[in-house]
Symmetry: C2
Subunit: 190 residues, 2 copies
DNA sequence: GCCGAAAGTGACACTTCTGTCACTTTCGAC
DNA sequence: GTCGAAAGTGACAGAAGTGTCACTTTCGGC
């Protein structure tokens, strides 16, 4: 090969995620990323043409990881177990939805960006298809209210991950509370 | 007085909101705002020192409007009516939470910015206090599950506004579905 | 040893945003 | 009518981000 790289793809993704959360899409710059990686700004151009390429590549990577975990939903036999597994997965990846929102705004600046965005779109569709089937199954088994539109149920579940956690409330208690609210709401049963 | 202004404060706020939603905090510039207002960029400097001042001023304005509506919660006698009123108010202001998230990142560049941020903080606290009392009352009247932490219930309700609406589902149906999920969850009662 | 490929660098030109300044325009008060 | 205050403008200089280029560094293969 050649000279050893001073930074790995994984490091790029890790800092990209951090910078996106801190500065947002418009505030993300090669200068900032280079600083975090401890290399010169131009070094990054050896591997990516522009920031859209970095960001979409990171997103594909993140999506792949989530999807790799997600397919284990089929290890669970019952609807209730699958539903619980899904909620845990989503609550664990509490940054995913923010990334999806950011991803929607990225313009197609290079063919690589376009390709990454298409892969993201495919992941998204497959995920949605699976989830839709889960909700459908829940309705058929009489576990989910049949009059709620699937899209709203799914969008609602995904949105729930954004509920912030506060000091004084443990992560476990937080996750349990969110799950209970999604499943049974905030009101008492009577 | 003097010469008539080419743009009103309200126009500034309206375009600021629009630009923030389109480009985010970091993508918001005086050049963009001036273009929308149909004036030169420097004209804006006559009224605001920098973009932080414009943005926080807009946020205070928006918050005042929401708060003015919010206090009508006391026009409703029962907990259930108040709760419903609150949900309607929040669902109607579906951009508020995004603005709050953006607001957290604004640095204190001038005294005016600092003052605006403090006013926002005060609104926020008063609002939280009121809402906390509502949840507390709901618990005492046996309407809200007592074991859910108030903070989580409130954060959850606020977060719900972000659930996107889709074509094919009417706004009314969307709002009704969200309300039902918050109150009673997605699962059937048994 | 030396050669080529890959990795990394600083310098440059370009663009965009920022904030200031001297200037002009417009209006009401007198 | 003219004067002053407020509103608006274009020109400028500085800061920050972008992308390119010629160059150097480092490694494995021969």
């Amino acid at each position: 090969m050649a000279r050893e790289r001073k930074f790995s793809l994984n490091e790029v993704f890790q800092h990209t995620k951090q910078l996106l959360l801190e500065h947002g899409y418009e505030g993300f710059t090669f200068g900032l990323l280079a600083e975090r990686l401890g290399v010169s700004r131009t070094a990054i151009y050896k591997h990516f043409e522009n920031k859209e390429e970095v960001i979409t590549a990171y997103m594909v990577d993140e999506m792949e990881q989530v999807f790799a975990k997600f397919v284990h939903i089929h290890d669970y036999p019952t609807f209730d177990e699958q539903f619980r597994f899904l909620l845990n997965l989503i609550l664990y990846h509490d940054d995913l939805h923010r990334m999806i929102a950011i991803g929607r705004r990225i313009p197609d600046t290079t063919p690589a960006v376009r390709a990454n965005k298409e892969r993201l779109e495919q992941f998204h569709e497959r995920m949605y298809e699976e989830l839709n089937q889960l909700v459908e199954r829940g309705k058929q088994e009489g576990r989910i209210k049949p009059h709620l539109p699937n899209r709203i149920v799914l969008a609602y579940i995904f949105q729930s991950v954004v509920v912030p956690h506060f000091p004084g409330i443990s992560l476990d208690q937080w996750a349990e509370s969110i799950k209970e609210i999604i499943m049974y709401g905030v009101m008492t049963g009577n």
